[in-house]
């Protein structure tokens, strides 16, 4: 969490960040957006795969079926490097995939990717070096 926020700060993108602590909270968040006309849909959802209570895939599936947020951009951020996970999340409608690196400098590159996603046309495969 700390590193993601730092990476966004470093990239100098102006964002309001909402944080859900687990899969269940994330699902509840999308339901609340759907039910409250004052709450806007997030421009970008940064999603891990391995989440407590509800898996990232289930959260994504739920979001894509929601009234207001079905079209939001989704960037998957995960420690998993398995091809299966990448393929599964792409199929569910992820717009990008970032594998969490174990070096600080590498991690900071996430900010650039978030910037590109928000400004440019959606990239299907945004990757980090392996």
């Amino acid at each position: 969490m700390f590193l993601i926020q730092e990476a966004i700060e470093v990239s100098e993108v102006q964002l309001t960040v909402h944080v859900a602590k687990d899969g269940e909270q994330a699902v509840q968040f999308f339901d609340r957006v759907d039910g409250d006309s004052d709450m806007p849909c997030p421009a970008l959802v940064i999603l891990d795969i391995n989440l407590p209570k509800k898996q990232g895939g289930d959260v994504l599936k739920h979001m894509r079926q929601s009234r207001k947020c079905s079209g939001a951009l989704v960037l998957v951020v995960s420690t998993s490097d398995s091809a299966q996970d990448r393929e599964r999340m792409a199929k569910l409608g992820a717009d990008g995939y970032f594998r969490k690196p174990s070096a600080y400098d590498e991690f900071m590159k996430l900010g650039e990717i978030v910037k590109k996603l928000l400004n440019g046309p959606p990239l299907k495969e945004i990757d980090s070096p392996r």
């Binding site: 420690t79 490097d81 398995s82 174990s102």
Partner: protein, 744 residues
């Protein structure tokens, strides 16, 4: 002698005044039979010729009307004497002349004659008597018949063909039976009126020569075949003689008969004789008293008696042992009733006294009128089949004994799939009755879910003749639970490859099955655990690494040199742990991917591998070469992992004395490829040849060589997945060759 002449004679005797003695003298010398009667027809006189012709001595004054014994009309009907021409004339009737009659003598001989009766009258015209002259015409009659009526009758009523043929083959005459034989309605319809046209082509020349011979004046006979106008072939036998015509030419007169039937019968009889003689079975015929009337070669062979010794003897005396003498009267009684005796197995005695087992089939023989006159008897030697049967029983007993000692359920089935035997284990397991075989219904103890599949497998096997192999559950009545069995059966075939029997077993695999299941479950759990663990382990490791880095980066001014060194240890440990987790993850995933259906080009995989290893290759100045590599049906990632691990190891464990030289090769052997990776590195102590493929097995500390001890375990796991093998051949200090097999 005429009628006028007779009248004159009558006039002479009555009217002319000739002395009686002279008259009598004349009458006696007459060569014709003559007699005289009074007006009532009573015999008054007869001459010697009359007595001779009639064959009797007529009685004067007693015989009336005629001197003959018996009279007949020409058609053979008897004629009473008082209606004979003489009687008719005396009674004033008109007598027609020239009528022929037949008379019979007392000795039974007959003769033909023509009577010439005349009436004698006195001066007033009163009938005073009669005179009759009998002219014998027998010779003439016979002669005429011989030439004419009789001959015609003969040639027309004979069933033989009678024909007259000219020297050039022209058919001059043929009787109706002959025409019927050649299929013609009259002689004119025979083609060109020429006899040669109906002779079978192969016999035509012979017949022409024969015709020439006959017309040349010689007698002869010939057998030949004809092809009738209707296309039918007949076999003919002809007897011919030359016939001289009034114009001086000689023609061929022949009586020919159809011997086709006789020939056929001869052939059939020859065939029958041949069959009887060549039969393996003894064929004997006997009359109803049991006397032997025929005896073939096999009978000689079987019983030892020659035909000469056997014919005329009774079966009872010759062949039947003392203790079976009651059989023959029984058999003869049944034959007299017209019954057949089929496959009667008994014992007979040979000439040398030895006994043989035979099977008898006896049928009554009837004559043309349908009366039973004897029997034909076929005797077959069954000593051999008895012996085989005994041996069969013995081998079956042995088989059962063996089957009963086996720990499995053993059964046999007929070619149609019906089970006809179970061993002791079956009865022990099922508790079914050993006596009531129909109680043994396998389906009654089969798990309901397995009935359909088991039935289908068995029917398929029986239909195709392929071995049967199926796993199913049987109810174990003793433990009151289901047990797994594998049912297997193979067909036993005869020389003609027909299935004659099925030999089957049911083997208890319950324990094995349970262990397998447990093992599978344990493996699956372990994989699942390893996968989740390595996933979940990565996240905290990453945190340790990244925050220790941040600590060193942002707070180094607050840390002393000891703390910084510890931080480095912390990061190195985390890095090693990360590699370990990563490798463990690929190990668990090594078999979870399904291989692709298309072929993978090993050369391309090698290219990618070398690309990935570029850093290590450049650092070590390794030289890597390869023979041509094939395409094969495996997952690309699997082949890549194999190459990467083996080549990576070859570089890692290089000799400090020389730059690494690594060579790849693939050879085809039977149903698979053998890949080899040969290096010139440090080599492996033979003691550890097997051990190195185990998980986390390392021969060196991580200070000497980095690594997790998972690479070769991954290789082992991948080749296992393809039912392949991996092994190493090595010499310490010289290098190693790793080999692995993959499917074609």
């Amino acid at each position: 002698m005429t009628r006028n002449h007779a009248k004159a004679l009558a006039a002479l005797s009555a009217g002319a005044n000739l002395p009686q003695i002279v008259f009598a003298e004349i009458m006696e010398t007459l060569p014709a039979a003559m007699y005289m009667t009074d007006a009532q027809g009573r015999l008054t006189y007869f001459n010697r010729a009359a007595a001779k012709l009639s064959g009797r001595t007529p009685e004067i004054g007693t015989d009336r009307w005629c001197v003959t014994w018996k009279l007949f009309l020409p058609d053979g009907t008897p004629l009473p004497h008082d209606q004979c021409p003489m009687a008719v004339a005396l009674k004033g009737g008109d007598v027609p002349t020239g009528i022929e009659y037949i008379a019979e003598r007392p000795d039974g001989t007959r003769f033909w004659f023509t009577p010439y009766p005349a009436v004698l009258r006195d001066a007033e015209g009163q009938i005073i008597g009669g005179v009759n002259l009998l002219i014998d015409i027998t010779d003439r009659k016979n002669a005429k018949l011989q030439i004419d009526e009789q001959f015609r009758a003969i040639i027309e009523t004979t069933p033989e063909c009678v024909k007259i043929v000219a020297r050039d083959g022209t058919l001059l005459f043929m009787n109706p039976p002959g025409l019927a034989m050649v299929g013609a309605s009259c002689a004119d319809t025979v083609t060109d009126k020429n006899i040669y046209n109906v002779i079978a082509p192969e016999d035509r020349e012979r017949f022409r020569e024969f015709n020439e011979t006959i017309c040349g004046g010689k007698k002869g006979s010939l057998q030949f075949e004809i092809v009738g106008l209707n296309g039918e072939r007949h076999h003919m036998e002809t007897h011919a003689a030359p016939l001289r015509l009034t114009d001086g030419t000689t023609v061929h007169l022949a009586v020919t008969h159809d011997v086709t039937e006789r020939k056929r019968a001869e052939r059939a009889s020859l065939l029958l004789n041949a069959i009887v003689d060549s039969s393996e079975d003894a064929i004997i015929s006997k009359d109803l008293d049991g006397v032997i009337t025929s005896w073939n070669k096999s009978a000689e062979r079987l019983f030892g008696y020659t035909a000469g010794e056997a014919l005329g003897k009774t079966v009872a005396d010759l062949l039947i042992p003392e203790d079976r003498q009651d059989e023959e009267p029984n058999i003869l009684a049944r034959l007299r009733n017209g019954e057949r005796v089929d496959h009667f197995e008994t014992v007979r005695r040979r000439k040398d006294g030895s006994l043989i087992d035979i099977s008898l089939t006896i049928s009554p023989v009837k004559n043309l009128e349908g009366v039973i006159i004897g029997a034909s008897k076929i005797a077959r030697d069954i000593t051999e089949s008895k012996r085989i049967q005994a041996r069969l029983l013995e081998s079956e007993a042995r088989f059962r004994q063996l089957a009963d000692t086996m720990p499995q359920i053993v059964w046999t089935a007929r070619p149609d799939g019906r089970v006809d035997y179970y061993n002791e284990r079956w009865y022990e397991f099922t508790g079914f009755s050993r006596v009531a075989f129909e109680e043994s219904n396998p389906e009654s103890i089969l798990h309901p879910d397995d009935i359909e599949e088991t039935r289908r497998s068995w029917y398929t096997a029986v239909r195709s003749g392929e071995p049967y192999n199926v796993e199913h559950r049987f109810r174990d009545r003793r433990e009151n639970r289901w047990r797994w069995f594998v049912g297997r059966a193979i067909p036993v075939r005869d020389a003609a490859n027909n299935v004659v029997k099925w030999f089957g077993t049911c083997t208890d695999i319950d324990e094995q099955k349970r262990v397998e299941d447990q093992l599978r479950r344990a493996n699956r759990d372990l994989e699942q655990f390893a996968f989740s663990a390595s996933h979940d382990l990565q996240e905290p490791l990453r945190s340790v690494k990244i925050y220790s880095e941040l600590l060193a980066k942002r707070h180094s001014d607050k840390l002393d040199s000891d703390a910084l060194t510890f931080l480095t240890f912390l990061r190195n440990g985390a890095t090693r742990m990360e590699t370990l987790v990563c490798d463990l993850l690929s190990y668990t995933q090594a078999t979870t991917f399904d291989g692709p259906d298309e072929l993978v080009d090993a050369r391309e995989v090698l290219k990618t591998t070398l690309e990935n290893l570029r850093g290590a290759i450049e650092d070590s100045s390794a030289e890597i070469t390869a023979d041509p590599l094939p395409s094969l049906p495996v997952a690309r990632t699997h082949l890549q992992q194999l190459f990467q691990n083996l080549i990576g190891n070859a570089i890692k464990y290089r000799s400090p004395e020389r730059p690494p030289a690594i060579h790849l090769r693939a050879e085809r052997q039977n149903e698979y490829w053998i890949f080899s990776v040969t290096d010139n590195g440090i080599g492996i102590d033979p003691e550890y040849k097997e051990k190195i493929f185990g998980l986390f097995k390392r021969l060196h500390s991580s200070d000497e060589y980095s690594g997790t001890g998972i690479g070769l375990a991954i290789c082992q796991r991948i080749v296992d997945r393809y039912q392949g093998r991996i092994w190493v051949e090595s010499e310490l200090g010289r290098g190693s060759t790793f080999r692995f097999t993959l499917p074609l």
